[in-house]
């Protein structure tokens, strides 16, 4: 065309890219209210996702801690000799749901007792005045805490039962507690993961809708640009830059908000445990993974922004009859 000097192709691409970036940033500032609204929704979205993940992780950790603590002590009569003991250990180790068997001798049991009661002189004196009254024991770690019952039945067999000096230590109240914990944990893990997914999907739908509406309000602009002969990417680019900016700002704000919250509540609760949610674990989890979390939040924000504006601009960029 006469009059317009065309730049070399590569340089033109670069100029266009620069202009798209620039226009996107200018629009971000000029559409301040829209930017604030969309960014706010995005902050909420990202914060909910972050919180769900941290809560779920914290919970999973609580479950792990509790399950790790589950063990079974089999107390042996003093009359049990070396050979009988080795045979029992062998049989237990062969048992499917037993992860490990640890032998605690009488001497070891006494030493442990002394350690545990180092502050209590009365208890120490009581024990030193007699022969070692503590039984030797086998400490079992179950592979799957949900299947402790099988081990119990195994230990109830008469030939094993006769080697034991006392009831196995999971029995009574403790067994019930162990049972409840193991039942609850598997349910709650599933519920936690489902919760994260549901929250993520809902908040993504909300942000999608917000951005779609924002672009719908400016469809006239898109139409005009097309009439002037701008190609699709030149029109779409600034919108994508703008929504990606929402994502970046929102990610920064969301991580900053969480950071502030953790700092404040850490001092308020003094790293105490709130039932199943171990606050200090949540704190550590967040603090140790600060940079990865920030990066992931940025990635999610950018992705949501880019995808939703891409989809939203799509319908206005088709070269069909304009009404």
């Amino acid at each position: 065309m006469k009059g317009v000097k065309h730049q070399p192709y590569g340089r033109r691409k670069l100029i266009n890219f620069g202009r798209v970036l620039h226009t996107g940033c200018v629009n971000f500032i000029r559409n301040a209210w829209l930017s604030i609204a969309a960014t706010a929704v995005m902050v909420i979205t990202l914060t909910i996702i972050l919180f769900s993940v941290i809560a779920n992780e914290t919970f999973a950790n609580t479950v792990r801690t509790i399950t790790d603590r589950i063990d079974i002590s089999v107390y042996l009569k003093d009359s049990v000799n070396e050979e009988q003991r080795q045979e029992l250990i062998g049989r237990l180790e062969d048992f499917e749901n037993v992860q490990s068997v640890e032998y605690v001798s009488k001497d070891q049991a006494l030493a442990d007792y002394k350690d545990q009661n180092a502050d209590n002189l009365d208890l120490l004196l009581a024990i030193s005045q007699t022969d070692n009254p503590l039984p030797a024991s086998l400490r079992l770690k179950p592979g799957d805490p949900n299947r402790i019952e099988e081990i119990r039945q195994f230990l109830e067999q008469p030939d094993i039962k006769e080697l034991q000096s006392d009831e196995t230590s999971y029995s009574g109240d403790r067994k019930e507690a162990v049972d409840k914990i193991t039942q609850a944990t598997s349910f709650l893990r599933t519920a936690g993961i489902a919760g994260v997914l549901v929250f993520t999907v809902i908040s993504m739908l909300i942000i999608f809708n917000t951005i779609q509406m924002a672009i719908f309000n400016r469809r006239e602009e898109l139409t005009i640009m097309r009439l002037l002969g701008a190609n699709s990417w030149y029109i779409r680019g600034p919108f994508i830059v703008e929504t990606v900016l929402y994502g970046i700002v929102a990610a920064l704000l969301s991580v900053a908000a969480c950071s502030a919250l953790f700092t404040i509540q850490a001092s308020a609760f003094d790293a105490s445990s709130l039932g199943l949610l171990d606050v200090s674990f949540a704190n550590d989890y967040f603090a140790q993974r600060f940079w990865p979390i920030l990066l992931i939040q940025l990635a999610i924000g950018v992705a949501i922004g880019a995808i939703s504006s891409f989809v939203a601009t799509r319908r206005y960029l088709k070269f069909k009859a304009i009404k």
Binding site: M1, K2, G3, V4, K5, H6, Q7, R12, I15, N16, R19, N27, R30, N31, R218, E220, E221, T223, I224, M225, R226, L227, L228, G229, A230, N231, Y234, F319, A321, I322
Partner: protein, 194 residues
């Protein structure tokens, strides 16, 4: 080009800018056969034809300068050249000094002149003006027509549609009358015939 409402003026213009496709027949503009035009060529075609609309169609979030510059940006003109070109065009349409205004801060006549500046800044061979004075009072309308005359003197074909008998009669140019989608008269130094 004149004709009653619904005669087919706007449809013809939309066919020329490829906003619509003809249900039958052939369109050739400046040697380009529209039948052979692919979707991705449409932006290129539109860059060669200047269009001015009754409702201006300015970009509401851009200043006067940016609105005109936008037309040049999309053809990939360098920034320095744009800064050089835009003031010249704004001078032609008489808007020097209003570069930083937003469209909402301008009168209807001024907005239409921004739209004209935008349409001619790429020096198209054809300028299509679809009822450019339709939304303007007579004083502003005449300002706009004078700008179009000036552009025509520079060598651009101006295709103007209007309802305004007064404008047609004073311009004394070729007048094509359309009715029911067909050309019913075509006069050289024509007058408005209702």
């Amino acid at each position: 080009m004149v004709g009653a409402s619904g005669a087919g003026k706007s449809t013809l213009l939309k066919l020329l800018t490829r906003e619509e496709k003809p249900s039958s027949g052939k369109i050739i503009v400046g040697g380009v056969d529209y039948e052979r035009l692919k979707d991705r060529d449409i932006p290129l075609l539109r860059r060669k034809i200047g269009v001015v609309f009754q409702d201006f169609k300015l970009l509401p979030n851009k200043t006067v300068h940016e609105n005109v510059a936008f037309a040049l940006e999309i053809v990939g003109m360098g920034s320095k050249e744009i800064r050089h070109t835009v003031p010249k065009v704004l001078d032609i349409v008489g808007l020097t000094g209003k570069e930083k205004r937003m469209p909402r801060e301008l009168s209807g006549g001024e907005r239409q002149r921004v739209a004209i500046a935008r349409a001619v800044t790429r020096q198209p061979r054809i300028l299509i003006a679809d009822e450019p004075t339709g939304n303007l009072d007579p004083g502003h309308a005449w300002d706009v027509i004078k700008v179009l005359e000036k552009i025509n003197r520079f060598g651009t074909t101006v295709l103007l549609t209007t309802h305004n008998q007064d404008i047609v009669n004073r311009l004394k140019r070729r007048v094509i009358t359309i009715d029911g989608g067909k050309i019913v008269s075509d006069h050289a130094g024509g007058e408005y015939k209702a």
